[in-house]
Symmetry: C2
Subunit: 243 residues, 2 copies
Amino acid sequence: MTTAPATPRTRARRGEGDRLRDELLEATEQLLVEAGEAAVTVRAVAARVGVSTPAVYLHFADKQALLDAVCLATWVGLSAAMRAAAEGIADPFEALRRRGLAYVQFGLTHREQYRVLLMRPHVDCTDPDCPVLAAGQRACDELTAAVERCVEQGVFRVADPSDTTLALWAAAHGVVSLVISGAIPAMERADIDALAAMAIEMAGLGAALRTRLPDDADDRGICKDSAALVAGLDLLAVGLPQG
Amino acid sequence: MTTAPATPRTRARRGEGDRLRDELLEATEQLLVEAGEAAVTVRAVAARVGVSTPAVYLHFADKQALLDAVCLATWVGLSAAMRAAAEGIADPFEALRRRGLAYVQFGLTHREQYRVLLMRPHVDCTDPDCPVLAAGQRACDELTAAVERCVEQGVFRVADPSDTTLALWAAAHGVVSLVISGAIPAMERADIDALAAMAIEMAGLGAALRTRLPDDADDRGICKDSAALVAGLDLLAVGLPQG
DNA sequence: CTGATAACTTGACGTCGCTAACTTAGCGCC
DNA sequence: GGCGCTAAGTTAGCGACGTCAAGTTATCAG
């Protein structure tokens, strides 16, 4: 099963010990994608590279460190995908929407990596300068900046955009996570994409709308009276852009 | 570490073989809550009940079946919590909001169970009449019914409420899942609760608003022009109930 | 040519999920 | 009241896992 490479692997030269590190990382990600998290074994990774098992521990503290490295790469890829999706979009709200769609798209096309990144048993990264947490923070900061641009345009009316960012992130993550977990069993890819678009638009529009409600809304719940809410929203429908 | 009980456990009588089954299940959940998923070992569970390890396999096919049983109980508890929260609330939108809050609350007070339920490595329950999937479906159906009541009142204007249900579920799940995963590191409980309330209200309001937008919105993205959106929303603010 | 040492390998420990084969306790039955 | 069937367990062990201690081999400075 765990195919050893044809070339028995030449030992690394004196200075280039990190070569194996890169190969191990690549093998880990390949194994993860091809056979799932359960198949990612220190033994299997080592075998795939063509090296003995304990050799892994010369370059990674433990199995967790190996997966952490994959997480780091995943954060970078996720950030890049979102950035690329928003590139050249002038309107900040539309740019934010595209970021959200790109997030879900990336998550669904990198399911195993996403699972390891955000659905793992426990990431007790108590270390404050943990590189994978830092990468996540950076990705979140980029999203916050995108939200901030919406605030500047008056789409969101909030003093601190970070809460809004988290809530939007939760909406996108919720879709990816639910689909990956298998809680939503039979669903075509097209349906999933439609759901993602819907959830993201809901979150975006909801954020814009929520900040325009009276301040005491938090205490009493927003619009206890559905009838009043319906009346208000119907009034809005006239005022919104139609095409 | 794995403390055996003081009473060495009397063997079950002839007919009551299921007694051990219940004890194993209880021990599993306790172990899960007290020491986390990693501590849930077939050996540890058996030791806690005071029985030999293979005895577990007389009542559960494998470790997965043991965890599945916990999942089943968790689904039931989650459903009950949502139902209790909505009980006696006449307004359907407010009832839906309370259901969402109860969902997040339950998830955060049953983190380990929630993790096992919806953040597990893989739930390849291909079996169509898998009881845990069925329980999830039942919980989802209840939520759909709550959404349907909002549709009847005109809060949501959709033909099929199931998509809306999934999107709302995703919003609530997203918050729980993000917090549990540790992606949002330092956060007080009060802040988390506030975030949850915000995310749920955003999703609910967004759903109500989205269905009032023109039909071609899906193709071109909703409100490409932020300025127009802002103008429309500000118009709305006047019409909405203020107190 | 020769050490020093970076880059590995061999072998093993303890724990895991799970199985096969054996043992013991309760109950119907003649 | 002893007998035998079988439900309800136990003992022993397999292969795979993460990880470590100690030994080995290849490379390069001198």
